[in-house]
């Protein structure tokens, strides 16, 4: 193993982790506002299939991206209505969203499974920067959607920690009653952030089907929506840490492909099944690490996460 192996691995990690990153950042916004949405997997799948279909039928991948944003947002709106307005259990509603998305995407996508030539989002090596040794191939020789992801994490961090709306966002997730007293429209803001989170999940799905693994197959997210849910906790609801987690996950998710060319794996191809467990085991490991870390540093979930806000009743 030499340096080039790691360069390839890191570049692949950033590429492969981009879809998960969007979904993770989206979920951070929703959870920061106090609403848990475990339906990411369903929204990603719907985003992936509608983006691919729209790109194929219109010939324009950017239109596909737009459709995925809308579809993700609409699905999240369903979740928002059921959990914020009707105050149903957030976990169950999110599960329903995932099952709905998985089933519906399979139905919609049936005619698209054979399609292999839908237009993709363009790759764009950044002139000059892409030629820098080591850093060039890792950061600056990617599909456009990857750059959007690289920018999204710091922007989301800045918004949450350095702007007034970001501060309000944290307030409605920690202490909605106090936020309400300050004149923040808790219900409306929760709606907006849940919808925004869904849009990013849809975008994550579109990133998969239009750029990262450019095709549509049933269940193609392979648990990335659930992994995003784990990464949110690992990230302590911080978008920058989320990027770290998502790209690490991307690299490990890519690993089986790289490992299969090693002599050991060529001789025993069945070891590949164990390599394919790694991303999932990695997430469990991350959860264990962050559980211990969070206990020590006393960083927890937003205090009002999972609880509906009712003005008339005593809030959290």
């Amino acid at each position: 193993m030499d340096l080039s192996f790691f360069v390839v691995l890191l570049a692949a990690g950033i590429r492969y982790g981009t879809g998960t990153l969007f979904a993770t950042i989206g979920e951070i916004f929703a959870e920061r506002a106090g609403v848990l949405n475990v339906g990411i997997e369903g929204m990603m799948l719907m985003g992936a299939v509608t983006a691919y279909g729209a790109a194929y039928y219109t010939g324009n991948p950017w239109l596909g991206l737009l459709v995925a944003l809308i579809v993700g947002g609409v699905m999240a709106l369903l979740h928002a209505f059921v959990t914020i307005t009707l105050r149903a259990d957030q976990v169950v509603s999110g599960l329903a969203l995932t099952l709905l998305g998985a089933g519906l995407s399979a139905v919609i996508g049936a005619p698209l499974v054979e399609v292999r030539d839908a237009p993709q989002l363009p790759a764009f090596p950044i002139p000059g920067l892409a030629q820098i040794p080591i850093l060039g191939p890792i950061f600056f020789d990617h599909n456009v959607i990857v750059y959007i992801g690289l920018l999204a994490a710091p922007i989301a961090w800045w918004y949450i920690y350095r702007t007034r709306p970001g501060m309000e966002l944290r307030a409605i997730g920690e202490y909605p009653a106090a936020a309400d007293v300050l004149g923040i429209a808790v219900i409306r803001q929760r709606y907006l952030y849940v919808i925004f989170g869904g849009m990013l999940a849809g975008l994550g799905g579109a990133a998969l089907s239009l750029a990262i693994t450019p095709l549509w197959v049933e269940g193609m997210t392979a648990g990335q929506g659930w992994i995003a849910l784990g990464l949110v906790i690992f990230a302590s609801w911080n978008p920058l840490r989320a990027a770290l987690g998502a790209y690490l996950f991307g690299a490990i998710g890519r690993l089986p492909l790289d490992l299969q060319n090693l002599p050991l794996f060529l001789a025993n191809p069945q070891l590949g099944y164990f390599a394919r467990m790694l991303p999932y085991l990695f997430v469990i490991l991350l959860m264990i690490i962050s559980a211990r870390g969070n206990m020590r540093r006393r960083i927890g979930a937003p205090a009002a996460l999972g609880q509906p806000y009712v003005r008339e009743e005593r809030g959290a």
């Binding site: 105050r87 089933g103 069945q270 959860m287």
Partner: protein
Amino acid sequence: MHRGGAPRIRFERRLEQPRWLSIASPFILVAAALAVGAALLALVGAAPLVVYGRMAEIAFGSAYGWSDTTIKATPLILAGLGVSIAFKMRLWNIGAEGQLFIGAWCATGVALFLMPKDTPQALMLLAMGLAGFIGGAFWGFIPGVLKAKLNINEIITTLMLTYVAFQWNNFFVYGPWSQRGFGLTEQFPKSAWMPRFTDFGKIFPAFQGMTAHFGILLAVILAVFLWFVWRRSKWGFGVKIIGDNPRAARYAGINLTRNIIVVMMLSGGLAGIAGMVEVSGVVHRLQERFSPGYGYTAIIIAWLAKLNPLAIILVSYLFGGLLVGGDAIQPAGIAGMLQGVILFVVVGGESMLQYRIRVER
């Protein structure tokens, strides 16, 4: 609080649910779910009434239909009971699918490699059932311990372990246990087959051709047993208290840590039995994908049945019918989509029925 401006729609919680509503609500909700499903079907270009009619006829229109539906309902009941145990304590075990695969894997190991082929059938099935339970319980034990000791979110761990279970299963059916490199093992010896109703066709002619197996009896017995556990046992009462109010449970001296682990193991163990029953009663071997997502459907079933074991039997038959009917129509995936719609409408609708809608001016 609201002065002037446009009228505003408010949802107000009903103080008590009128009696007619609590009786009518399941029917209202199922009807609403079917209506929403019909709209979606029309949207994707199918004729809703034709699809529904055809599905109902295939699943419930004949004795063979009922037999096929029973085959699907069997693992659904078992896995549904499994997740319902965890849900009762508000533990979100959504990894029943993985627990089911590990249970099936353990049962297969027993049937093919541990026990001699001429083991008496009863003994063989007992050993397989035990192995299935232990396998599933172990797969539930891991997230249980992580939850109890480190407070790690069980939604994520149970699901991650499901994907690990798939790969574990794949390794064996393509690797050491594989039959010529296909994604399946060799067939079980006859002693490892769950008796089927058609096997008794000579004595009871009505059973001829009915491939449903005795797993359904086990499922029903376990459901009734669980119903008694919730109703009558101190332990069942304790679990319910933990679910409703963990703090009160701790003050009452109930050991939370141990109960979390035990409940997760029982939950996984029942899903493991579902896997054993499926390989022993239906496929008679281990395969790459022998379950069409029973473990996920079980989540919906447990919730719709409001965690009532007897209702789980009923709802499992409904969803079994949905799977049987869905298999026979195109495009594939309609059954899955309808499952999601039904759960969504019921979850949302149930809370909606707790509210009155008022327009404020």
